[in-house]
């Protein structure tokens, strides 16, 4: 009997997950269909660009800086063993531009933007403000979700570039200080050895990540139920699911790119 109950529970959970996926797909489709409303609500879009982009500058700056420093120290010491420490610039820039920059920035923004979107929209949902918007003939997806999506699509790319460049600079100073690699040499090998392919890979990822982080967090926010506890649950789910999706997309994207490029 308990085994049967377990089966029923698993079946219900599976059905619920499928329903959630269906709802999310429809929500995402509606976002894409309404993308033009970002112009109509350009003030909201600009405000979100400021919140999602400008206000996240410091956290991305610090994350990028420490990433570059750690990467240079780790790579430098390993390469030194083989007498190849001059490759530290190239190794650091490749790791930063292709993987670490987009992924760490993606995870930072999944936490910051994901929690913000889900809790903000969740609070509006449980206090009937979303119902009020709908009652007054305003589509909440157009007014609230699309400006957030467009702002994320625009701002994640420059933020990733900031993380990459600051990381490179951090790595350069550490390499000069502790590994005694000439700054000019480091910079030349870091920048000029990068190929167009690396840049395409590195700068495509933030666009994909921003799309998923924004739609997932807005979906969780707008489907919040259960009062303040529900708001907390929506924020946690948004951050966890967005982070996992960032890593999963990174894996898929890397695999696909290696297969075709």
């Amino acid at each position: 009997m308990p085994e049967r109950m377990n089966d029923i529970f698993l079946l219900r959970s599976f059905k619920l997950s499928l329903l959630r996926l269906q709802e999310y797909s429809l929500f995402t489709f509606e976002n894409i269909r309404s993308i033009g409303s970002a112009w109509r609500y350009r003030r909201d879009t600009l405000e979100q660009m400021y919140i999602i982009g400008a206000q996240a500058f410091l956290i991305v700056f610090l994350a990028g800086l420490f990433m570059g420093i750690i990467m240079s120290i780790e790579a430098g010491h390993r390469l030194e063993t083989f007498g190849a420490k001059l490759l530290v610039g190239r190794t650091t820039s490749l790791a930063l531009f292709r993987e670490l920059g987009p992924v760490i920035t993606g995870l930072m923004l999944a936490a910051r933007t994901g929690a913000k979107n889900a809790s903000e929209l969740g609070s509006m949902q449980v206090s009937e403000q979303i119902d009020a918007l709908r009652a007054f003939g305003t589509n909440p997806i157009e007014k609230l979700a699309v400006p957030r999506l467009v702002a994320a699509l625009i701002m994640f790319l420059p933020l990733t570039l900031v993380a990459d460049l600051v990381g490179l600079l951090g790595g350069m100073f550490v390499s000069d200080l502790w590994l005694h690699v000439d700054k000019a040499f480091y910079w030349r090998s870091a920048v000029f050895d990068l190929k167009v392919k690396d840049l395409i890979v590195g700068f495509s990822k933030p666009v994909i990540f921003s799309f998923f982080i924004s739609t997932i967090s807005c979906y969780y926010g707008l489907s919040t139920t259960g009062g303040t506890v529900g708001v907390g649950r929506a924020a946690v789910n948004a951050v966890v699911v967005s982070s996992v999706i960032v890593l999963f997309n990174d894996f898929i994207f890397t695999k696909v790119v290696w297969s075709i490029l």
């Binding site: 206090s127 009020a132 003939g137």
Partner: protein, 250 residues
Amino acid sequence: MIKLEHISVEFEGRKILDDVTFRVKDGETKVMLGPSGAGKSSLLKVILGLWRPDAGSVMIDGTEITHLSERDQLPIRRRMSMVFQGNALFDSLTVAENVGFFLREHSDMTSLEIKNRVQDCLDFVNLSDSGKLLPEEISGGMKKRVAIARAIAFHPEIILYDEPTTGLDPLNAKTITELIMRLKRERQVTSIIVTHILRDAFAVGDTLAVVNDGRIVFDGAPGDLLAFGDPFVQDFLSEIRAEASLLAHQ
């Protein structure tokens, strides 16, 4: 005219509305009475198209709205307005911005025209000097009045009120009831008011409907309700009788 026919709504296996049928004529004020959890607020959400019923139809001036998509419902919703139980004021906007929200979103009015209309609405609810305040800076009674000002700003044909006086002190509740009566008198809007306060129901209602367990158990004139023999209705009415006898003794 608002026409509901055989509306049923189920949520997580529980019937919230069960075969509900009623009509509200143009200019009429219908009060939906009943205990908390009876399904009164759900009815408003179905009428506004925020909830899709599992069965039945909702007609607003001859247009069936239950099968319309959210996008297609928007033009019909723009003729209606609602005062929410928790007010649902947009907390990031000032009082004046809340009141002018619909006009900025859906009208071709200039900023000056909107500003004047907002001021008129704030004057109507006696909040002339509160436009610059945020919702968190005003009292519960004032919030309710802002919600009413927001609801009337675009001159809707239909206004739905969800528990407009619940949680307010008697003085504020009286102010709100008077505002609703003034709106009825001066603007002839069609109204549906959900409440469990009998005194308000008799004060403003042209017709009353009593809801219990998702079903309409009475629908008619206020005078007929007092004579209605249903045990639940009589039990519900005992409150107003007790109040009346208390007043008589005083």
